[in-house]
Symmetry: C2
Subunit: 342 residues, 2 copies
């Protein structure tokens, strides 16, 4: 049964620190009608991602902020239910940016048909979509790992980190994961194929990380920040590369951390070890790199060489709590909201 | 008159913070005799450079530490006075690494003949040597400035910074210098051709820098660190590049600066602005890049397009005070010690 109204979750207030349920509001609107050249699609899967926290702030992040009262944005898999666009017909399954709502209109420019051979269409949100592309681009185009080098991946069981680790192994490197807790660490080694995984909650985390990287660290895929980065920094080798993909440890921060100021120490290390640190936003690279990514990743997925653990959450109304949990590290795998049946 | 003994300045003690004269000691040794395959040369010019401070420390820097009692190292221009090496003959003028002493032996591997057409042989230490190559490599191979972009150079009248600014102008960019005091700033604009130069001692330095970079900063050539870097950071554009060549503001530091810890802020900026920060040590790049540098730089120097202000200091015994002054920013231009007559 398709809903006869369009449920939307909008930004009710800007969070200070950790978001709460009061920062979101459920609204109901009429289902819009497509105009000429437009497509109406129904959301099936909604991707939840750490970057969404940044869009809830007022200030500029790397993506524009969501207006107060505006629908929360997000990548989706959806089904075309009405079309006045020549490239899309009713019944097509598309990757889309419907955001946190049942229905959305599009002019087609942000829609991509999903290969009907894909057994698990939600993977278009992760392995075969933005998540996988983020891991692939950051690791291979910035990190440039060579066989035999050591690659360290924070959030090793997170959506992006898990793909980074699997690609790192395909490239013949030693892959060291960092994750929160014994269960995630076991999964990283047993299922994802990391050589070793360190629990960042362990009191002797820094010493364990040093012991696990006897030849130092050549590539550190940064998507955490904070104390993990501080433990990694002294272990970086000469000519190490640090793709900076995310900093989830900072996203809920409301003030600067106490001193001392470690910027001079960081920059000295960058100089003496000839380290490269490069931030990237995957949206910049779709035009130039997505085709190459798809060419490499599709067979890896088809052959089972790269896999994705998905954490499904049932119902659009659960999305706010699921995002709060994601930011607190309480999920395990790629968080996908089941919004409507396939 | 050539000295009949070999005066050497050795490391007497490791400085804590700013070096003092007591950290150096003058010794006298017999002039060594070249063995088979060796060259003996007399030092004419000795280059003084900020990196020497790092070598006085015990810990690893990007160059190995000097042993207590060891001769201070350094690039030199020298004259061959005895040779048992087929490629060098008595009277040849060579660039060399004799260090802080009158005479040194070499197996020839670190010697390069100086073009006899060079009117000013001391330029082999600066424009046509390590200084110029440092500026060239950092700016062009890491900074990659495009015509119309804004390049900011700290220590704009320093040996490296002055070359960075002049090359930046040759490449059609807007070049903004940062220097200490009105005299240096005038020189940066009037002689070196910077579009504007900001005095970092001004109480409203950060505001002046922002006003001087209305289109933001695309390349920041870092050789200072500290407060200057903090003022630059908020002005860096999306996809800005920061070659990290030196951090003179930190070299004499004995403790970490007070908080707050600004690393999270720095890394957030790196992420959201997609900034590249890359440390480099020019010694890594001689084999792959020096020939290209010479090809470009030699005609620029011959045509007067790039020039170098040299600050000559007379006498080897003055070198310790001259290095102390250099680290305190009391010199103006490339510091060269006249050790022996040409």
């Amino acid at each position: 049964m398709s809903p006869a109204i369009n449920r939307q979750i909008v930004l009710n207030s800007r969070p200070r620190g950790e978001p709460t349920l009061h920062d979101f509001r459920l609204e109901e609107q009429a289902i819009p009608e497509p105009g000429d050249g437009q497509v109406l699609s129904r959301t099936i899967y909604l991707s939840l991602d750490p970057y969404m926290r940044g869009r809830m702030n007022e200030g500029p992040s790397y993506v524009p902020p969501i207006a107060l009262g505006g629908v929360m944005g997000g990548g989706t898999v959806s089904r075309v239910v009405a079309s006045r666009h020549p490239s899309f017909k009713v019944g097509d399954l598309v990757s889309s940016f419907n955001g946190w709502q049942d229905y959305a209109l599009s002019d087609g420019s942000d829609l991509n048909l999903i290969d009907s051979r894909l057994a698990q269409p939600s993977l278009a949100l992760s392995l075969l979509g933005m998540t996988g592309f983020t891991a692939y681009h950051g690791l291979l185009n910035i990190g440039k790992p060579q066989a035999g080098e050591t690659v360290v991946v924070a959030s090793a069981t997170g959506a992006v980190g898990s793909v980074v680790g699997q690609i790192a192994k395909l490239k013949g490197t030693r892959a060291v994961g960092i994750a929160g807790g014994a269960e995630k660490c076991r999964y990283a080694v047993d299922v994802l194929g990391f050589d070793v995984c360190i629990d960042h909650r362990a009191p002797d985390f820094a010493a364990q990380l040093a012991a696990a990287t006897p030849d130092g660290i050549d590539v550190y895929f940064e998507n955490v920040g904070g104390a993990v980065f501080e433990a990694v920094l002294p272990l970086l080798n000469i000519n190490a590369r640090v793709p900076v993909c995310g900093l989830i440890a900072h996203y809920n921060a409301t003030e600067l951390p106490a001193g001392p100021n470690l910027v001079p120490q960081l920059m000295s290390r960058v100089l003496t070890r000839r380290i490269l640190i490069q931030g990237f936003i995957i949206a910049d690279h779709f035009a130039t790199g997505f085709a190459a990514f798809q060419r490499d990743m599709s067979p890896w997925v088809a052959e089972g060489k790269v896999q994705m653990r998905e954490a499904f959450v049932d119902g659009l109304e659960q999305a706010p709590q699921a995002l709060i949990d994601l930011l607190a590290g309480r999920h395990f795998g790629k968080v996908v909201v089941n919004v409507n049946p396939l």
